[in-house]
Each structure stands twice: as structure tokens, then as C-alpha cells.
Point group: C2
Chain length 124, copies 2
DNA sequence: ATCATGCATCGACAACTGTCAATGCTTGTG
DNA sequence: CACAAGCATTGACAGTTGTCGATGCATGAT
């Protein structure tokens, strides 16, 4: 038997403080919203990509090209290119071709937007 | 040839505003830190788990047992149990056995902590 | 003690993902 | 034009992951 109404089981009156107001808290995520948030998070949920983001942000002018990143990350150029594409597709990085080089920058506010989606208003 | 020093290429004097101060921005993530952050994010980067978190938070008393979740999520009980374990292991949910039921709650502040790690201080 | 219920674990399988070497494309240079 | 350099794309492969049915383990009720 499945209980769809809620805990109608031994419930020692646990009344949590009214904690609310995030995409995750306060309302129930439908499938589509969950898919979108998840795919954005998937782009971040990878050690190499986290390091790439941090390397780009820490680089001179807050931008970097692939040849600046392969060495610090210790991976092949195709692999780095692949990760950069994932981050661009996720809207976290932007790419600009300048001569032979492709420069990558953080999309301003993108990380913040993601962070807000995770926790806006929770316990603040 | 690899350019490890930075863009010594055609650089049209792009001086970004001083945007800083997050685990991702402002300092470079080492491998270990990247691994830890990534594994926490991996737990979240899945549509079903996002929905489970939101369902738990929206449930009466901000807690729910597995039998409350299988139906809304439309997956088998073993699959839901598996996802809940992933979320508990990631420190996002806590589990309490009460009689025959296992109740899951949000770990207070866990989502916020993750969100802060993503974007603390960026552009604020 | 026996049985039913709620949940976890196991084994299996398909789908996805990170990685590389090889190759192709584009831009700047001799 | 030919060549080199930077980057993207392709194909391949191993490792990971989401899912399920079957099974096992507790707990509470009869």
C-alpha cells in the first residue's frame, strides 16, 4: 500500500521553522524544471570543469584560451575543448574567436543565477 | 607551443571589473577541492533527485518516507531508495528510522552551503 | 510464531560520460 | 601558395550511472 497523503504514521509533532522560497523548497519541481536545473548542474558537477572555470576566472583579464588551460589541467587539447564546449552550452562560459585563438570568459551572473536557484531565500 | 603565462596574444585591453571571492572565482581550485565540490554537485545534478528534494521539503513537516515519494516520482521503490541514499551520502538529506518507516529531511543549511560555494561574493 | 509491510541490497543491463589519438578546419605567416 | 599553429570534430573505448526485478532484513500486527 502506498501512502500518497503524507505521514499518517507515528509523528512526534515535528514542526520545522518556516523555511521556504527556492525552486527546490517551497514548491514542487515538475519534470521539465527538474530537467533544466539538472542539466545546468551537470555541467558544473565535474572536477575538471570546475577547475577550468576557476582557471579562466583567475587568468589575466578573466579570460583564457585553450592553450592556456591544457597544461594546468593536465589533459589533452581535445578533452579541454570538449569541456569548454559543455560549459558554453550550459551558459556558464562565453566564447570569442580572436585570430587563431578562442577566448573563454565567465558569463556574468551565470554562476550566481545557478546558486540562487539552489538556495534563494533558504534560512536567510 | 603552450602559452602558460597568459594571453600574450592580440589583447584589446579588456579590463574586467574586479569580480572575485568564490571557491571558483578568485583562487584556483586544486584537484582535491574540485573533486569534493564536484561530488556534492553530482548528487544534485539529476532530475529525479532534484524532484525528491523538493518533494521532501514540500511535504507535511518537511519530511517524507520512501512510500510517499515513489508515486509522485513515478519510479520503483528500489530506485527511490537508491536516490535517497545518494542524497544522504552527499549530506543533503538526513535519514531517521521511525518504526517501519524511514523519514528523510533536508539537512538545514546544506543547500545554502553549496550555493555559497558556487557564487559567494560574485558581483554582489 | 507467523505474516504483512516498508525499506535496503544485489545483480544485471542499457545509456551516458570522460578521455585520447587521429583528423579536419581556419587563421596568420613566410 | 604552402606551411604552421590553435582549436574543433570524429571514432573508439573504458568507466560510471540510472533503472528494474528479485531478494533479504527489520518492524509491527495478528
Amino acid at each position: 500500500m502506498i501512502n500518497t497523503a503524507g505521514p499518517r504514521h507515528p509523528l512526534p509533532v515535528i514542526t520545522q521553522p518556516a523555511v521556504c522560497c527556492s525552486p527546490l523548497i517551497g514548491r514542487i519541481l515538475d519534470g521539465a524544471a527538474a530537467e533544466r536545473l539538472a542539466s545546468a548542474l551537470k555541467a558544473l558537477a565535474e572536477p575538471t570543469r570546475l577547475r577550468l572555470i576557476s582557471l579562466v576566472a583567475a587568468h589575466d583579464g578573466a579570460e583564457a584560451c585553450v592553450c592556456d588551460l591544457t597544461d594546468p589541467v593536465g589533459l589533452s587539447q581535445p578533452t579541454v575543448s570538449h569541456h569548454m564546449k559543455v560549459l558554453v552550452d550550459a551558459g556558464l562560459l562565453e566564447r570569442e574567436q580572436r585570430g587563431k585563438w578562442a577566448y573563454y570568459r565567465l558569463v556574468p551572473g551565470a554562476l550566481n543565477a545557478l546558486a540562487d536557484q539552489l538556495a534563494t531565500g533558504i534560512g536567510r
